[in-house]
């Protein structure tokens, strides 16, 4: 295959889909520029503690692929970078990218931790335990700019004066792989998000209970450091709901089953209840994974969508009002923690895109593959709600379509 360094493909998003597409393109001899707005690669999968249905860690396989990506001569990675403009010029695309360099430059950081030790405000923390290469992060909302860390850093990696850098690039095509973000649930007040510290979204719960996270895998309440007696997992929170997200977010049923299973595995005292509409377990081994939970009896599956979730007045717990549609009973149960699952949507937002480039998005916010050179190729959550396997399959397909489009030029 002829090498076409001069006409690279731009990939927006450095999660599993973006990484997969970049590797497939590069292995076929095509140059790639991968743009990631965050500081690290791996996207949402890097934030996951465990992967269903094998309960493996996400980090090791991800690290291997990130390493391959970083070492490949045809791939240029731009982290902390956003695509600002994208214009069609003579059948090609002109991209303007803006990089906001982080205060701590990870290429110079040796992860010695001196900066964190010096910081009087505790504003410096590791970028995350599941991050490669590891580095530190300055929380600019807490930082008081005393710059003691700058003096403490032995390699000169810390600099508060770095300014935004703009760069331009001509590319042949763009593949959208920008993944998902959580959608704000506060417009639906019945879910009670924000009304109690122990009502949280699934991604917050994942971070809160991750083995490599703040609590080192312990399942404890946010309101006070004690073990919850029971946890409610609310499925389709905001999803399959015409008021917010009309679609099914596809990954949440299995995600909740995984979280519930790990909660009871880590603490023998905890009981879990999953409130679901349809338990969608369509992938390899997914259905058996759900059976494993039921047979333990400490994870109960109840078909019903709670109508109201609220902090119990004058007490510690949280009330969940629901109709069990299998018994037709309306009940109110008390829980110590409530996890809301389902409110995830594509990171590409119509209102943001229109300012800079016209990307064709469906009503649900997913890329509409059109003959327009800007929105031809998408994979992962940019294209359709998808789990890890589905996302990387779509990524390979998008990569090969981009190669064929180049050949036909």
């Amino acid at each position: 295959m002829n090498s076409t360094n001069a006409s690279p493909v731009l990939i927006v998003g450095g999660g599993v889909a973006g990484i997969g597409a970049a590797l497939d393109l590069a292995y076929c001899g095509h140059a790639v520029h991968l743009v990631e707005k965050g500081r690290v690669l791996g996207g949402q999968v890097a934030k996951l503690d465990k992967l269903y249905p094998t309960d493996h860690c996400a980090f090791c396989p991800l690290w291997t692929d990130i390493k391959k990506l970083r070492e490949h001569p045809l791939i240029t990675v731009h982290t902390s970078t956003k695509v600002k403009e994208l214009k069609r010029v003579d059948g090609r695309l002109h991209a303007v990218m803006v990089r906001k360099p982080p205060v701590i430059d990870e290429s110079l950081c040796v992860f010695c931790g001196k900066c964190a030790g010096e910081c009087p405000e505790a504003a410096i923390a590791p970028l995350g335990d599941h991050v490669y290469p590891p580095s530190y992060l300055v929380r600019e909302d807490i930082c008081n700019r005393c710059e003691r860390c700058v003096k403490a850093c032995p390699t000169g990696a810390i600099d508060f004066q770095r300014t935004e850098e703009t760069s331009e690039l001509m590319v042949d095509d763009v593949i959208w792989a920008s993944g998902f973000t959580e959608v704000d649930l506060t417009p639906l007040p019945e879910f009670g998000l924000g009304k109690h510290p122990d009502i949280m979204t699934a991604m917050e719960f994942e971070e809160w209970t991750a083995e490599a996270g703040v609590n080192k895998g312990a399942i404890i309440k946010k309101s006070k450091p004690s073990v919850p007696r029971n946890i409610a997992f609310i499925q389709c929170a905001g999803a399959r709901d015409q008021r917010l997200l009309s679609y099914c977010s596809a990954v949440c049923c299995m995600h909740a089953l995984k979280q519930a299973q790990w909660a009871i595995r880590r603490n023998q005292e905890i009981q879990c209840v999953v409130f679901y509409t349809d338990l969608r377990t369509v992938g390899r081994d997914y259905y058996e994974y759900s059976l494993r939970d039921i047979s333990g009896s400490r994870v109960r599956l109840i078909r019903g969508r709670p109508s109201l979730i609220y902090p119990l007045p004058g007490k510690e717990g949280i009330a969940v009002k629901f109709e069990n549609t299998m018994t037709q009973k309306r009940e109110i149960w008390g829980f110590d923690m409530v996890v809301l699952n389902g409110n995830i949507g594509s990171s590409l937002k119509k209102k943001d895109q229109e300012k800079h480039f016209s990307l064709a998005l469906s009503d649900d916010g997913f890329v509409n593959p059109e003959a327009d050179a800007i929105s031809r190729f998408a994979c992962g959550f940019s294209a359709e709600p998808a789990d890890v396997a589905e996302s990387v399959i779509q990524a390979s397909s998008a990569a090969v379509k981009a190669i064929l489009a180049k050949r036909n030029k």
Binding site: D24, F111, P154, C248, V392, I403
Partner: protein, 570 residues
């Protein structure tokens, strides 16, 4: 004995504020195999790596022990830098003095230093026995074989041909199309299946790079990534092919519900595929139809969801409604499986068209009424808690896809793994189209039940993976290693010592060990391109003939001896 250089990193005070590095330096210099030992301010910045490389080069040292931080902190970057500088991976030993000694034992500097010395001296002892595996490079035969000409195989074949590769498309039936030949329309686009295949079939006929083998069977496959030899038997006789990559797209088959819901006894109790066949013939006016989901699926015998049955029922239910808006159509289900935005919209469309959904429990399935023809269905609606009688003149049973019987044979010939149901296993989680045999890729329902649309996407994806291999002129055994820069190497056999017992052949999960006649005796040979350095063969070899050069058992023995003394050594 080749000399070892020892570099100890202070990490700007992070290590030496706890560990007495000077004492470690002195101790290591006393070791006879150490050429020199040096304490450095830092080792990981690029300048330091270059300096380390040149200091090793200038000395008589051939191997190096780095005392620094953990592999996932900066240690890995130091190793990568040294390898780029021309030092063999097997000649580098990394000892974690920062996280594993200085940080975790900061309250006890003395014992932390003791532990640090144990680790360094063990690494020095081990390095003596570590060697680099010999690499082997084979040229890649730039052609692919695709097994199965259904939507996945056709899509893979056309994609590879468009990329310029010659493709051999093997089909057990007489014409291409696979499952698409058996259905009327595809979901969710509602295009005609025949039109969907036609695009592919035209391309298969027109593109000279695609060779189609109808009514063909694979009788033997041997080889490895870049160079598989295949024997195909078809109406044209026996043919031998040589291909660089294999894509398995052999699909799955539909399970028949014999004995369930009085199928085969009552007329008008038919399967989804029989309804499809009726629809291919033309429109059919149906007054009342009941679809039953999860027939033979999500039960103890087949505990999985076959993905495509719910959307297929939605498609056909809507079709009945479209042809006869007055028709009464019920879908009896256990959960409606329409994940995502497109399929969820497809489900909502069926609801809007007036298709009625009734949920039942696995323990309380619907019952058929009637003696010769089905006259009705009795079902316990678990959502309103009532028994309902539905009059109907058609019952459609949605049955799952099950794996093809010849998956076992194909897996055996290629050294592949099947999952517990009999579908081809993938590399979890980030390489779902790849298998544990390099150069063999899977797509479509042979991998896991999927819709034709997804099968086409998977075919394209598998083509991308195959194209990457076929596009490279040559492939080397070490480059197939899954962890870049981390050469695990591969097993090697000492031909003189091998007794030909065959233990290694029995335990090799990758079909890399084979017994080969050499003169009068048989000896084991390891195919380096298939070997994944799992070490199973090493552990069952009775006389230590099979070894992993990078992980020689003597290295482990030397480390144990160093740490615990002679009595603990193997």
């Amino acid at each position: 004995m080749s000399g070892i250089a020892v570099f100890l990193c202070k990490c700007f005070g992070e290590i030496n504020r706890v560990i007495d590095l000077d004492s470690l330096q002195k101790k290591s210099e006393k070791n006879t195999s150490v050429v020199f030992s040096s304490v450095c301010e830092s080792l990981c910045p690029a300048d330091d790596i270059a300096k380390t490389v040149s200091r090793i080069r200038e000395s008589s040292a051939e191997k190096v022990v780095i005392g620094g931080c953990s592999h996932l902190a900066r240690g890995g970057a130091i190793i990568d830098g040294l390898v780029h500088g021309g030092i063999k991976r097997s000649a580098i030993g990394l000892v974690d003095l920062r996280e594993a000694c200085a940080w975790i034992h900061q309250d006890d500097p003395e014992r932390a230093t003791e532990k640090a010395w144990d680790l360094i001296s063990m690494e020095i002892a081990a390095l003596h026995y570590r060697r680099e595996s010999d690499d082997v490079t084979v040229s890649v035969y730039p052609e692919a074989m695709i097994v199965g000409a259904g939507p996945a195989g056709l899509s893979a074949a056309c994609t590879l041909a468009r990329l310029g590769f010659k493709v051999h498309l093997i089909e057990r039936g007489s014409s291409p199309g696979g499952m698409l030949n058996l259905i009327s329309h595809v979901y969710p686009s509602d295009e005609k299946a025949s039109e969907k295949i036609k695009v592919f079939v035209d391309e298969v006929e027109k593109n000279p790079l695609i060779h189609f083998y109808p009514k063909a069977k694979i009788t033997a496959i041997t080889g490895f990534a870049g160079n598989f030899r295949v024997q195909v038997s078809s109406s044209a006789g026996e043919q031998r092919l040589r291909v660089g990559a294999v894509i398995l797209a052999s699909g799955a088959r539909v399970w028949l519900p014999h004995g369930l819901y009085r199928y085969g006894k009552l007329k008008n109790v038919i399967t989804q595929m029989e309804l499809e066949r009726q629809f291919i013939k033309g429109p059919r006016e149906i007054k009342t139809a009941v679809f039953i989901q999860c027939v033979g699926a999500r039960n103890s015998e087949r505990p999985y969801c076959a993905t495509m049955c719910c959307p297929s029922s939605l498609k056909n239910a809507v079709r009945i409604k479209d042809e006869n808006p007055d028709a009464r159509v019920f879908i009896l289900h256990r959960d409606i499986m329409t994940p995502g935005s497109v399929l969820e919209a497809y489900y909502r469309n069926a609801l809007a068209k007036g298709v009625q959904f009734i949920r039942f429990e696995e323990t309380n399935p619907p019952e058929m009424m009637g003696t010769e023809n089905v006259e009705g269905v009795e079902v316990f609606d678990s959502i309103n808690g009532m028994k309902r009688k539905l009059d109907c003149d058609l019952v459609v049973l949605s049955t799952p896809l099950i794996p093809n019987d010849d998956n076992v044979k194909l897996a055996g010939m290629l050294g592949l793994q099947l999952d517990r149901y009999g579908f081809f296993s993938e590399i979890f989680p980030l390489h779902p189209l790849e298998t544990r045999v390099d150069g063999v890729f899977i797509c479509g329902s042979a991998r896991w039940p999927v819709s034709s649309g997804q099968a086409i996407i998977q075919g394209e994806g598998a083509a991308a993976k195959a194209a990457a291999l076929l596009g490279s002129k040559a492939v080397s055994a070490l480059s197939l290693s899954r962890v870049p820069g981390e050469k695990f190497g591969h097993a090697s056999v000492n031909a003189e010592k091998c007794t030909g017992c065959g233990n290694c052949v029995a335990v090799c999960p990758f079909d890399a060990c084979r017994l080969q006649k050499m003169g009068k005796k048989s000896i084991s040979r390891v195919n380096k391109l298939r070997c994944k350095a799992c070490g199973n063969c090493v552990s069952v070899c009775p006389n230590g003939t099979v070894q992993l050069p990078e992980h020689d058992y003597r290295a482990v023995a030397a480390m144990i001896k160093q740490a615990f003394g002679e009595e603990m050594a193997l």
